[in-house]
């Protein structure tokens, strides 16, 4: 993966497969303490302890077509290679939380990339709500698809609405951190 936002969409797809209806993503950049912390929390079906132990193993997957699953493994190696770690917490029937931590100024840290595209792609899934929290040092911005649905109705799969959301998120991120990371 070339960007962190691509890892994000991958993990979000896991949540969607786990029948999550609400996915909360938080991305926190702290220049002063030099870290980037990302968490993805969903209310999907979760995993039992046995699966949880093996979940970062590339040869473990829930899909039937093949016996490899690289999503979490790739994300973990992206964290490890820049002095960070990846943790997965889950409770069966409750949901799953993925936490990724990286040294922000590490030379191998992937660029954050295009977050707005990731959110818009995630919103194409039916019956899924996305909350995105972006924090840069002390400043923050929050996007909640439930707020949008209050205005335009349940169906967000409309090019004009998606276009609006895309620009809205991009502008707000730009306002906070210049969008340069």
């Amino acid at each position: 993966m070339r960007e962190i936002s691509l890892h994000l969409i991958d993990i979000i797809q896991n949540s969607v497969s786990a029948k999550a209806t609400l996915i909360v993503i938080s991305l926190e950049i702290n220049i002063i303490e030099d870290y980037l912390k990302i968490s993805i929390t969903d209310n999907g079906c979760g995993m039992n302890d046995e699966t949880l132990k093996k979940v970062k193993d590339p040869f473990v997957t829930s899909r039937k077509t093949r016996r490899v699953g690289l999503g979490l493994s790739l994300f973990e190696s992206a964290c490890n290679r820049c002095g960070g770690y990846l943790e997965v917490y889950s409770k069966e029937g409750k949901g799953t939380e993925v936490i990724a931590y990286m040294k922000f100024n590490h030379i191998d840290r992937e660029p954050i990339g295009n977050i707005q595209d990731t959110i818009v792609s995630a919103l194409l899934n039916e019956n899924v709500d996305i909350v995105y929290k972006h924090k840069y040092n002390e400043e923050s911005f929050e996007f909640d698809s439930r707020e949008i649905k209050k205005i335009v109705g349940e169906d967000l799969n409309n090019p004009e609405i998606l276009g609006w959301i895309q620009e809205y998120i991009a502008e707000n991120i730009q306002n906070i951190d210049g969008g340069a990371f």
Binding site: M1, L6, I9, D10, Q13, S17, R63, T65, R66, G69, L70, G71, L74, N114, D117, T118, V120, S121, L124, N125, I148, I151, V152, G153, D155, N157, N158, P159, E160, I161, L162, G163, W164, Q166, E167, Y168, E171
Partner: protein, 133 residues
């Protein structure tokens, strides 16, 4: 800045469209968005399709995502399913190729042969080019 008023204006404009879409038959454009697809560049493909659909103002098209289609080396993969027609699978997509598929296949109904996956005896025969008889 994008404003909420703008969003409300979009809603008023599109509400008729949404109603129409429910009872008419829609063309489905499916993009493979598993790890393999994403790594190969499926997100720009997906967004360029949405963009093109918006630009052309196509009301009867729904753009959806799916998981791994099963031939990861040919990702990004886009499938087009027009009502009453057989599914067509396009492989090794880029944002530009995807735009062409919307213009030619979805709008005019002409399949873009160069990008279609050709399967003979269960084997994909055109990883890179179209095979002519």
């Amino acid at each position: 800045m994008k404003s909420i008023q703008e969003l409300e204006a979009i809603r008023k404009k599109t509400i008729d469209n949404v109603n129409q879409r429910k009872d008419r038959t829609t063309t489905r454009i499916v993009v493979g968005m598993a790890t393999c697809g994403i790594a190969a560049g499926a997100r720009p493909v997906l967004l360029s399709i949405i963009d093109e659909v918006k630009k052309l103002g196509l009301p009867d098209v729904s753009v959806v995502q799916t998981g791994c289609i099963g031939v990861c080396r040919l990702e990004p993969i886009v499938e087009v399913i027009r009502p009453g027609e057989e599914k067509v699978t396009y492989i090794k997509m880029t944002a530009e190729k995807a735009k062409r598929i919307v213009d030619e296949h979805v709008v005019q109904g002409k399949i873009v042969d160069e990008y279609v996956m050709h399967v003979v005896d269960g084997k994909v025969v055109n990883d890179y080019t179209v095979q002519k008889d």
